[in-house]
């Protein structure tokens, strides 16, 4: 994630017409690609080190306080992170299209 992303507002459409929503706005089971954050530098660095960084594919497993997100790795494997709701509110994602046509690897 590249730090303060003021343009990454909630549910704002992006240039390519895709929605940007906060991670906590995904539905359980829904996936998306991280596109930015409004976190302070320390939290951003920590989440980035834990794999929750820009371009990472994430799946929301549990919505609540805290949330559980699954972060997909480069080899189809994944890890789970328990995430405080205030952090999940400040991480933004492009939700995946239902047909999965936008998913990368």
């Amino acid at each position: 994630m590249s730090g303060e992303h003021g343009q990454c507002g909630r549910t704002e459409p992006t240039g390519d017409g895709r929605r940007r929503v906060s991670l906590s706005q995904l539905k359980p089971g829904e996936s998306g690609t991280v596109c930015g954050s409004e976190l302070n530098a320390g939290d951003r660095r920590l989440l980035s080190a834990m794999g929750l960084r820009e371009r990472a594919t994430v799946v929301l497993c549990r919505l609540g306080e805290p949330c559980i997100v699954r972060v997909m790795g480069g080899c189809n494997c994944s890890s789970r992170i328990g995430l405080a709701r205030p952090l999940a509110d400040r991480v933004f994602v492009n939700p995946s299209r239902p047909d999965g046509s936008d998913r990368g690897t």
Binding site: A49, S79, G82, A84
Partner: protein, 667 residues
Amino acid sequence: MLPAATPAHARGGDPLPSAGLVTRVALIGNPNTGKTTVFNRLSGLRHKTSNFPGTTQEARLGFLDCGARTVELIDLPGVYSLELDQTEAEVCRSVLAGQIAPRGEPIAAPDAVCVVIDSTNPSRGLVLLGETLRRRLPTLVALNMSDLARRAGMEIDEIRLSETLGCPVIRCSARSGEGLEALRGAMGRASIPIMTPPGDEESLVRWAESVESSVFRVSVEDWARGERLTDRVDRGLTHPIAGVLAFGVIMTGLFWSIFSLASYPMDWIESVFGLLGSVVKSVLPAGVLRDLLADGVVAGIAGVVVFLPQICLLFFLISLLEDTGYLARAAFVMDRVLRPFGLPGHSFVPLLSSHACALPGIMAARAVPDRRERLATILVAPFVTCSARLPVYVLVTGLLFPGEPMKASLAFVGAYALGIAAAMGSALLARRTILRGPARPMALELPTYKWPSVQTALLTTYDRALVFLKKAGTNILAICIALWWLSAFPHVAPPAEATAMRERALAAGPDEASELNATADRLERSHASAESFMGRIGRTVQPVFAPLGYDWQLTVGVMASFAAREVFVSTMAVVVAGEEDAESEGVIDRVATAKRSDGVTPVFTRATCWSLLVYYVLAMQCLPTLAVTAREAGGVRWALLQLAWMSGVAYLAALAVYQVARAAGVA
């Protein structure tokens, strides 16, 4: 590029490590990669624990033989990245740069670094590997948990990774022991990487992604199968209601084990040391040396060793729970309960364990990642009711509600609730004042579920027990001996009344003589206790406790139990009843009906009992706890703060209770 550090082997211009030299290898990895299990399995029992100077971060140093070479293995704290602004990352950076070393070790950069990567989740580990490779130290890579990766259908091309890096790469499983011999052998073959990963974060992540996709392969279907199972278990264990219930059941089991199972070995230890004390007393001639050995040294060692069963059991069970992956879920579930008080979910296990004994509870606070939150947990943990308070609660609630078990048990529950409320209130206050700082928001890895390793749990238990005995145990022993001295000296002449009784006993019949001598014994013990240094201190300090309703006898009880609360009942038995054994028939009655020096006013009025109960719930009456706090918090000042705060709160609360009770007409 970062400057290359000076490795330990290069001290004094040595060439590369050769046979006969000690090679220092730093073990680095993300949390939950099984790094510590690798350390434990490689070094076995050949390790020692200290800390990194200037930090409270624990430093574990292990030793293993690799052919003719001895490898000194440093277990670095688990980190997600070397670049984070956290103590753990700072320690790792400084060790790799050769700026610090475990206390007592020569300061030099390690000769090599072993990067431990979780094979089932290599993404993060590869980023850390990239950061480490940029240090240009001889490196080797351990792909741990390779058995779990294989079971998940993952293919790993470690030869390709080794060729890419120019360093040895070993597949292993620390849990099963697979590949550990190869890893041990590779310790001496670590080599400087042939490439340097890019420095900026974005490029480094891309490098790690490309390495991951070329070395690790697993099909989407294979991986999803395992994830579905984890999802199902997580749905229950992290559910707002079912998760809390499951947590309650598991923690009750844990608490019960510490509280109940540990009582058997604790009883055995007490019996063995009791026997040892009797043997010393029967073998040695009466005198100071005999008393010092029997009542000071043997009782002091017993006072240390008696805590071991609880400490061992707690750490064994916690280690098993941690290994299964459940402990992270427990912290997750409890986070929302403890957050309003400025504590994270990780604090729950230490606080719960403190209900059995604050010592293992405080030691368990190492699991709290944030320093301020860890300190707050350590400071408030002794407020919760530990088992040592129970004899006092039993005595005082029995005095308050004789023959009314329901009311007595409600008072008991109230005492527990007061302890928890004081702990939570103090934590909140500490986090808003001296430990003010942003709460580290929960970002917690939830590791995959797996069967726990008993061997790992045993090694962890051994390590914790050793740390306790070496570091805290010596302090506790010294304290016990000092308190024995204060209670046993000076020797004084028996009171005239007792001497007269003994003279009358000489002329009396056998039954009457026996009764007179027994009474004289009691009088002498009471007198000796009152005239000991401890008794004198009690009488001197009594005016301080007078507003709380305590006379000098009660003050002696409070002062003597400063080292350990459970001593209160036995001290009162000696001071007011002249009995050595508090469980003797009629002792509690004699304590309950004891009179002050005026011979009329009872020592234990109802108002005094309420005041005493509140005092014992809140006061810091446990020197071993202070010794462990000083060690775990990283300074005596934290122990002194804990002592001052708890004593102050206890004094004011007991004062308020006594004065309000008196004003309300409670006798």
